[in-house]
């Protein structure tokens, strides 16, 4: 099967996943729920508000009419109004998403790099001292609930040594150049006019050239990123180690050694590439894990990103916000899975056979 057909089938399947999830959500909110209007209006709302919501969401119509408006609204970007913030969900997402995206992408890159390096190191001398130390470390760390790690860092590095700040993505006084954090200075520090980049605290302050804000944003991000890296730590380490051991056993590695290559060259140039292939399949899962972790991590550090927003919506049962963010997160994760699958199909033609 050609790569094009493979990609087409993956895209089609991803589309069905999104539709499937929309169906589940619609079923839960509009059919299974005892009182759909209360679900959409929020548990604290008054009778008049509930009635208004029932009218705007067409909740008194038959289910297929409701479904029509629901689907139309999803695809036209009309994702409802948050009862907690009294703002359209879509504009809240615009505000919160970039902050988390920046945090998650940095954490992802550092995490993958670190875990691959540790995997290679532990494959050099299996069951040696270094391997065992790494093993014990990640077995312990991955058993820790994300809030415990966050709490530990908070107690030690924020409240204990005062090395890093304990909350918020940026010092509000310094955050004037980042549109989302203009608490004190109303003059927008817009660079690109593109909300996704302008609302990233680190990138925006860097682009504006506001060094005080940049260093503040970086120091605020250190603890959340460190916590995210440790969430579910070790999966890649283990996979890289196992596949590295397998690859090191193969003939072409022996040939490389036989022709007198230095061990570093054998490992880094010959063995590493092939042993990374299995780990590549984990990337989608790792990214999805980081998104989940960000809910807890951003709550503990009051880091005002998407995870914080979802957490607040969970705690206050703000359903429109929850559904909007769920759709968004689904799409982001599905796209990342798609990229991983297509990339894998590209790197290893054998996988295309199964589709």
């Amino acid at each position: 099967m050609g790569l094009a057909t493979y990609i087409a089938r993956r895209v089609l399947f991803s589309f069905f996943v999104v539709i499937g999830e929309l169906l589940i959500i619609f079923y839960l909110t509009n059919i299974a729920a005892p009182d759909p209007a209360v679900i959409w209006a929020g548990p604290e709302s008054t009778k008049a508000q509930v009635a208004l919501v029932a009218l705007t969401y067409h909740l008194n119509s038959p289910w297929y009419v409701q479904f029509y408006y629901y689907i139309m609204n999803v695809f036209t970007g009309n994702w409802g109004t948050s009862p907690l913030y009294q703002q359209p969900v879509i504009s809240l997402i615009e505000e919160y998403l970039p902050v988390t995206l920046e945090l998650t992408i940095i954490a992802f890159v550092v995490k993958v790099g670190l875990e691959v390096a540790l995997g290679v190191v532990s494959a050099m001398r299996p069951n040696g001292v270094v391997d065992n130390v790494i093993k014990v470390t990640y077995t312990t760390v991955r058993s820790a609930p994300p809030f415990l790690v966050a709490l530990g860092f908070l107690l030690i590095f924020a409240y204990g040594t005062h090395t890093f700040p304990s909350s918020q993505p940026i010092n509000p006084v310094l955050g004037a150049t980042v549109p989302k954090f203009q608490f004190y200075n109303p003059i927008a520090g817009k660079v690109t006019g593109f909300w996704l980049i302008d609302n990233m605290p680190m990138l925006n302050s860097l682009l504006v050239g506001d060094w005080a804000a940049f260093s503040s944003a970086v120091s605020h991000a250190v603890l959340p990123i460190a916590t995210l890296i440790l969430f579910g730590f070790g999966g890649i380490v283990r996979l890289v180690k196992v596949s590295m051991l397998e690859v090191l056993d193969q003939d072409y590695v022996r040939t490389a050694r036989a022709k007198g290559l230095r061990e570093n060259a054998v490992i880094l140039r010959h063995a590493l590439r092939n042993s990374l292939l299995p780990a590549f399949t984990l990337m989608g899962l790792v990214f999805a894990g980081l998104v989940t972790g960000s809910l807890v991590v951003e709550t503990v550090y009051s880091y005002y990103g998407l995870g914080y927003y979802v957490a607040q919506s969970l705690l206050t049962f703000d359903t429109p916000s929850l559904i909007g963010t769920l759709i968004l997160i689904t799409v982001v994760i599905i796209i990342s899975n798609l990229v991983v699958d297509v990339g894998y199909g590209f790197l290893d033609p054998r996988t295309r056979v199964g589709y």
Binding site: P43, P145, F147
Partner: protein, 294 residues
């Protein structure tokens, strides 16, 4: 062979200190939670009742009388941790048990019968597998539980089962495809046994060990996931103690009262570590290929 296979098995289990530690942790926690769950033996493990308010002793740091300190209302954190154990241990068992039951039955029949049934089951499982499962589960639990506080824990468990079963379906199906090619299954077919009987008496016993390994490993993960649900208030209704929720409540008392949130989190971690060490030990027993590779 001088050693029987049972003694080899025992040798693998006890030859590995990590597995021993894992099983030890689990046994200790099971005993502790059994004692805590039964009112007549409760006082053997904790000195104070879990929900007796004592504002005079509020925010007391860890000491001999209050091992884990007290919370804002002066409740003994150790007593609350102990009282939370039965719930926090039972929930992973319920969730993983139900996921295994659904996944095992669907996956076995899909793999054994093949054809359009297999295709359908696999596609549906793939669909659920592709969702960002935890966020989906949290949303399901929040939507269903928003109006009914007492049912939140049930909805949280249901949500975890909804995202948990596809894994076991795929695992069981992959195993069954292998097993059904084996001579003893062919022999059973030739002797005219019914399909359900073959699956029940010949196929399922063969994949039980693999399922048990992954279920044990999954138990620790489910414990941590459920603690995230409890953290966000989607667990049992207060004032019933719950480890994840205690961490969340304790956060509001930082930086002063750190013990309120720290110790429940630490206990969760040790419990999850127990499941993961025991699960990996089991995997070494049942899957010799992976022995020593972790």
């Amino acid at each position: 062979m001088s050693r029987s296979s049972a003694s080899v098995t025992l040798g693998i289990i006890f030859g590995n200190w990590a597995t021993v530690a894992g099983v030890g942790i689990l046994v200790a926690f099971f005993v502790l939670s059994a004692l805590a769950a039964w009112p007549p033996t409760y006082h053997l493990v904790a000195r104070y009742p879990p929900d007796s308010l004592n504002f005079g002793a509020a925010n007391a740091p860890p000491s001999l009388s209050h091992l884990f300190g007290t919370d804002r209302e002066g409740r003994d954190v150790f007593a609350r941790v102990v009282a939370a154990l039965p719930i926090d241990i039972a929930i992973p068992f319920e969730v993983v048990g139900a996921s295994v039951a659904i996944g095992l039955s669907l996956g076995t029949f899909a793999g054994y019968l093949g054809g359009w049934i297999e295709e359908l089951v696999l596609r549906v499982a793939d669909l659920f597998f592709a969702f960002p499962n935890i966020v989906l589960a949290l949303t399901i639990a929040a939507i269903l539980g928003s109006t009914q506080e007492s049912l939140r824990v049930v909805y949280s468990e249901l949500a975890l089962i909804v995202v948990g079963w596809p894994f076991y379906t795929r695992l069981a199906r992959a195993q069954v495809i292998m097993i059904k090619q084996m001579p003893f299954v062919r022999a059973a077919e030739a002797s005219g046994l019914g399909k359900f009987r073959i699956v029940r008496t010949h196929v399922i016993p063969h994949l039980a060990s693999v399922i048990a390994v992954y279920a044990t490993l999954d138990m620790g993960t489910t414990l941590l996931l459920y603690s995230i649900f409890a953290f966000f208030g989607l667990g049992v209704a207060p004032p019933t103690p719950e480890l994840g929720r205690m961490v969340y409540d304790g956060l509001s008392a930082l930086p002063g009262n750190w013990w309120w949130s720290f110790f429940p989190g630490l206990v969760l971690m040790i419990l999850a570590l127990g499941f993961s060490l025991a699960g990996e030990g089991l995997r070494d027993v049942f899957d010799p290929r992976l022995r020593g590779q972790r």
